[in-house]
């Protein structure tokens, strides 16, 4: 491989995690997509979708179930109906506010070496977020719980391709609902050294995440505002509604300079009209409404344009993910995000009920949609199964392999005198082979991407080994990775401060409830 030398050097620098327990991975690296995104919409189509979105905002409106949000919007000149919460936004106001949002944001966790950029050509992958259930081949499907939560974090920390921790990789329903976000943040900050996504159901949970990240980094809230470290996803209750908790969460994040990812979750035929163009119109209008609110809260605060548009099975109403329509929407939404100069978040979902060929192809369709759409953040990139109802240990491994494939595909091809290899070609006779060529031997170790999960043994050797399919191999791999997991070092005084923060907040929450 042309970039073998480069990879080896980076590998040397990265050190830890490069090959652990005989599992070799490319090192942590900042990924960039060097190729222009696909233009699946013509310039005229893009403008037609933009224009219709503006008409939705101007003529139809978006509902905000938050008096404070309505105040901000009214003060900026939006047409606000206090009774219904419906807000109509002039396209001039929208353009003016959207232009204030930065094109890129860098998020810094407690380990500055794990900072991520979201914007430009960057490409960042996150762990799955939010499933109520968890599954692995040994223990089957079960309700989310804190032990599995922690193990999934340890697994993500062991995988260099998982850059960022999603919100509640699995819901720990064995913990009290009103304070479990504190336990989750504490685990995020002690078991991993990466950025994470906070729960923004209301302002308080967002503030807890910001304060705890500040403690773990040893910085003030003001410093965090200038150098953010957590994000959240603001889902719109499509069609056209921001509920109170989402609006409050968005404003709290913006006030503190932390980026929200405004993501309408839109299943065509259910939450939007059935046509892809209309789904893009509506989703775009909703996302921009959220972006406007973020900028009215704090001009220039970072905000990320999200799109999660897929289709349903119109016979059963069942949601579908990673479909051709899904991939087309992912590409088109990237064009919209770039039209507004905003960082773009896509996702990596599928509808499979087990980690099988369907799980692989739906996920890879979604992933190519994200990559061709120029996505900066691929959310739910590792571990999503069953339409998001289950976090799967084996799926984390399968996805890490898919993410590594894409990351490797995006490494530019080296073309220079050395890699063009004319002398090497000259030296081997017609019908000969290059196994022993000095050109080969000099590049032997790192010539090619070495997969995590793929099995390239011949059929007979594979049979002798028990004929394990990819899912069975993934089962073995996550266990080996967990065995070799090492908790990233955190200064004892910061850990103590985190412990104290959680204890204090839990007491306060208990008092409020009493």
């Amino acid at each position: 491989m042309s970039d073998g030398g480069e990879r080896r050097r980076r590998g040397g620098r990265a050190g830890v995690g490069r090959e652990v327990n005989a599992i070799r991975q490319p090192p942590w690296r900042k990924l960039a997509n060097p190729y222009p995104p696909m233009e699946i919409l013509s310039a005229e189509q893009l403008e037609a979708i933009h224009d219709t979105s503006m008409r939705v905002l101007e003529e139809v409106g978006v509902e905000f179930m938050s008096p404070r949000a309505l105040d901000l919007l009214a003060a900026a000149g939006a047409e606000v109906d206090r009774a219904s919460g419906l807000v109509r936004l002039d396209r001039g106001l929208v353009a003016e506010q959207v232009a204030k949002a930065p094109a890129s944001v860098t998020l810094t966790p407690r380990n500055p070496g794990r900072a991520i950029e979201i914007g430009g050509r960057s490409l960042v992958f996150s762990l799955v977020a939010g499933p109520p259930n968890v599954h692995d081949l040994d223990r089957g499907r079960r309700a989310g719980n804190f032990r599995d939560y922690c193990d999934l974090l340890r697994l993500a920390q062991s995988l260099e391709i998982v850059h960022y921790i999603g919100n509640q990789v699995v819901a720990p329903v064995d913990l009290p609902a009103e304070s479990r976000h504190l336990d989750c943040y504490h685990a995020n900050l002690t078991l991993t050294d990466r950025c994470f996504h906070a729960t923004a159901i209301g302002a308080e949970r967002a503030l807890d995440a910001i304060e705890m990240m500040a403690i773990a980094r040893g910085v003030t809230l003001a410093e965090m505002a200038a150098s953010p470290g957590v994000t959240t996803v603001i889902n719109v209750n499509s069609p056209r509604r921001f509920d109170g908790a989402m609006a409050e969460g968005l404003m709290a994040m913006a006030e503190h300079g932390q980026p929200s990812i405004v993501t309408p979750f839109t299943l065509m035929g259910a939450m939007t009209p059935v046509t892809l163009a209309a789904a893009l119109v509506q989703s775009n209008a909703e996302a921009l409404a959220g972006v406007v609110l973020s900028q009215l809260t704090r001009p220039g605060s970072p905000v990320i344009y999200g799109c999660f548009t897929s289709n349903v099975d119109l016979r059963s109403g069942a949601p579908a993910f990673g479909t051709p329509e899904y991939a087309k929407a992912a590409v088109a939404a990237g064009q919209l995000a770039r039209r507004y100069g905003l960082p773009y978040r896509s996702s990596n979902p599928n509808a499979a009920n087990c980690v099988d060929a369907q799980a692989a192809y739906e996920t890879l369709m979604a992933l190519w949609g994200a990559v061709l759409g120029g996505a900066n953040l691929v959310y739910h990139a590792a571990g999503w199964l069953e339409g998001g109802l289950t976090a799967s240990f084996e799926k984390v491994i399968l996805d890490a392999e898919l993410l590594q494939h894409v990351a490797e595909f995006l490494q530019p091809i080296a073309v220079d005198e050395d890699s063009l290899g004319l002398e090497a070609i000259r030296e081997v006779a017609p019908g000969g082979h290059f196994f022993g060529s000095p050109h080969t031997l000099a590049r032997y170790e790192n010539a090619f991407y070495q997969p995590l999960l793929s099995d390239w043994r011949n059929y007979e050797s594979w049979q002798e080994a028990g004929a394990p399919d990819a899912t069975a191999r993934a089962n073995s791999l996550w266990k080996r990775l967990l065995e070799s997991y090492e908790e990233p070092v955190l200064a004892p005084e910061r850990r103590e401060a985190l412990d104290a923060y959680v204890a204090r907040r839990k007491e306060a929450i208990a008092r409020e409830a009493a």
Copy 2:
């Protein structure tokens, strides 16, 4: 979905095969890739690879193990070493000959409705070719045989997304080696109505295919030369060798106006240097040498630029397919093919030993490489397993699903007043839903792509149904498709003529052997 109405109309026209045995498929359609191919190589890199390829042809040379080929090349002014068979080709000669080859070729089988174009923006998918083994979940892995050969053809004929029959979908080793190509061609022409790929090991086998296709179409050989109907793949014995049978086959096809697909099979580190740039240099030089020979044989004869570059596991020497390097090579080779104005053939391989998640993701990586590379023909598109050593019934179904996904992704997004759906958006209140919207109901039936294999049932329903994974479902699907297979009508006199041709040729072959 925006193109639902259009699809329904086409479905109505296509009629047979649209929904058989409760298996619904999009109808046969001519696929075009409307998006510009990815430019993974810069213009400078592309020229560096071209220039180095020219130096390989000029300075290093390519061996042709055929006196007739050497005669043709010498007469054209190439520097020919008769003793070694090594031929050095001046870049001016190469450019002059390559420029004579057409940019596109239309292949017509006995059913003119199943004609395919290879060139321009067209995209054609073929059945797998050449595996020695066959596999399905019920009967396991076994040696290739004529019964399975015929069943795989019936399956391909039942799938509208398989446009073209590869050479020997599985080798029928239960038939005599010297005449089995006749039985295969006979089956291709009676069990399917599609174009097929002939065996071009020597001129005779190629001629048999051309004559039999002419009989099935009811045309003369001269008419076939003007309107070709069969192809062959000419593999180079890389590095830099055309063996006698391949050179003779290529010339026989060109003489009769049938396109050869000149495809160096190059595993980096084995048949080429280990770097991707050098593999492209060598593969390009080899492919162009074959193109030159085709044009010297018959100027203007159709010929297709093939590339099949992948890597090996350098620890074991095992071949790998559908890797990141493979996909990069597939994209880059498309840029080379277009530089020379030639139709481009890519492939759809994987190295998995069973139809699992690996089989899906390696295949889909290869397929995206082909699509982003602007491939016109994706060879081995359906059924390839185990590095090409096995044709798999279940893999045919999985691949048909992947091909349908890609075909659907490439259908342009409709953006017009109707699909933009402003009025539909206006009619649904915030937080409402679109299931009952007139806009939805009017498009209900054909709004979205309906998958062949994907299972979108919820977890509970899927469990109740026995929790079948994608491979188990594929097993059920190919059996249902075979049950409902209908042999395409062939005029009795043509069938008798085909029978007679095969009988006559078998006698002749037996006489020669005696």
